[in-house]
Amino acid sequence: MLETLTVRVNGSPVNVPAGSTVAVAVLLSTGACRTSVSGQPRAPLCGMGTCFECRVEINGRQHRRSCQVVCEADMEIKAHG
């Protein structure tokens, strides 16, 4: 059995396999990371840190690329999808 941990996305708990990136936690919950400047929902595109579509707030710090940050237990993630 895979080890899992729990983070919160917009206040709701999400279980992810240990080692998952924050992008995975967001895709398993809200499905979108941010709202674009014209109001569209956006989610990860490149998966490797170059496109900046996966930006979320993590533990109070904004504009973190969720695909490049590994989940830690009890992380507070805010996605605005």
């Binding site: 998952s20 674009s36 496109c51």
Partner: protein
């Protein structure tokens, strides 16, 4: 307040993919003090993301072990945003790194080329390498319906990887024609990793059709992707799916090389036989010198690492191998050349710049990349044109020839503590 950490190394290597790892290990084994910096949470680059256990490449374990047994200082999760005259600056989660180096090796890798079509901004329209990276990073894909589209051997490798993880790969749409691929088959058959062959074999058994002359036309959905329309031998059909994974081959990450004034010719960094760029003491290895995949990257990395640490004898022994691999690089380029129809998929209101939501039409009316940036804000968002700039080069034939620091968005605290000059005049005045 973030801490500022200052360190001194003989050789700094930027990018911890196969080329960077090979370079760092070669330099360290030649006696140099080496730093290896990478934006990603762990070394391995994209191909070895997730470490040896999530990679089919037997070389992954070998090189990652060699790296961890070496004296190399690995700084993962650390983005280099500025480099000049023997010093670089990088940002990690809570620190600003100021690193003085004797020699610099750029192993900054490549990213996928994405082309705009209606619906390409919907959630769950992802990169082909992108979805693989996300599955390696924990995304469950079991039972998900995936359409792969674009071009290049990566599509097959990703299809094989996703199937093995339980995805239902509905089809692989390759834009190149059968005759185009066949013309270069002899060279590609010699593709050293036998990646294509392996992927095809794995694939045949799972019956996902590999369709040539096929490409995505539009993606549909409200909050997220629901279906994709593909053009298949001049006929369109709609396919319902959970993910559309697109990649139109790779483009090199040249931001740092350009910021350092390394000469770039035909889209790639020019290097001599020892991988040294037009700037003395700055070397480049892997995809930024030509898209060739794993084997050329490792050989180039080793040559650069040996040369940068003054071990020219070891470097010379590898020169013949590199020449052989370069033939594959050229064949790949021709076999997967993009067809002109792909430049006509975007409608006038399709977004080109996803950061600033600038439409295809609002960008196209300008004469150059620079004019589009100045007048429309295209390419001025956080990705700094990494997505739309590469697309615009193909769509409009524009040339992107400059890159200004900081080459990544950084925190105000990092900028305040940085030695980054505030104006171009100051930058040029101070560097001579």
């Amino acid at each position: 307040m973030d801490s500022v950490i200052q360190r001194n190394f003989d050789v700094a290597v930027i990018g911890a993919g196969p080329a960077g790892i090979a370079a760092a290990v070669a330099a360290a084994e030649s006696g140099a003090r080496v730093a290896l910096l990478d934006d990603n949470p762990a070394p391995g680059g994209q191909i070895w993301r997730g470490g040896a256990k999530s990679s089919h490449h037997s070389q992954a374990g070998h090189w990652l072990d060699r790296l961890s047994n070496s004296s190399v200082s690995v700084l993962a999760g650390t983005r280099v945003f500025y480099a000049h005259n023997g010093a670089l600056e990088a940002e990690s989660d809570d620190s600003l790194w100021q690193i003085l180096y004797g020699k610099l090796i750029l192993a900054t890798g490549a990213r996928e080329l994405f082309l705009p079509f209606p619906g390409w901004t919907l959630p769950n329209v992802v990169g082909a390498g992108g979805i693989q990276a996300m599955v390696k990073s924990g995304l469950p894909i079991n039972g998900k319906r995936v359409v792969l589209a674009g071009t290049g051997p990566l599509l097959l490798a990703v299809a094989a990887y996703l199937s093995e993880h339980g995805a239902n790969v509905l089809c692989i749409c390759e834009q190149a024609s059968f005759s185009q691929l066949c013309a270069f088959a002899p060279a590609l058959a010699a593709f050293p990793s036998k990646l294509i062959e392996a992927a095809q074999l794995r694939f045949r058994s799972r019956r996902a059709p590999y369709i040539m002359n096929a490409w995505p036309v539009a993606a549909f959905g409200k909050e997220r992707l629901q279906s994709v329309q593909v053009s298949e031998n001049q006929r369109c059909r709609e396919i319902e799916c959970d993910y559309l994974a697109c990649g139109f081959h790779l483009v090199p990450n040249l931001e740092l090389a350009r910021a350092l004034d390394c000469r770039v010719t035909n889209g790639f960094v020019e290097v001599n036989e020892f991988q040294e760029t037009s700037q003395p003491g700055i070397y480049c290895a892997g995809e930024p010198t030509g898209i060739g995949g794993l084997e050329p990257a490792i050989v180039e990395g080793r040559i650069a690492g040996y040369a940068a640490s003054g071990n020219l004898n070891s470097a010379k022994q590898l020169l013949a191998t590199r020449v052989r691999y370069k033939k594959v690089v050229n064949a790949m380029k021709k076999a997967f050349a993009l067809r002109p129809e792909l430049a006509t998929l975007a409608k006038s209101d399709t977004l080109l710049c996803r950061c600033e939501d600038i439409s295809f039409e609002d960008a196209r009316k300008h004469a150059s990349w620079r004019a589009a940036k100045l007048h429309s804000r295209c390419g001025m968002g956080p990705c700094q044109g990494r997505v739309c700039g590469a697309a615009a080069e193909f769509l409009f034939g524009w040339t992107i020839d400059s890159s200004r620091p900081p080459i990544f968005p950084v925190r105000c605290s990092s900028l305040a503590a940085s030695s980054l000059p505030s104006s171009p005049a100051q930058r040029h005045g101070g560097s001579q």
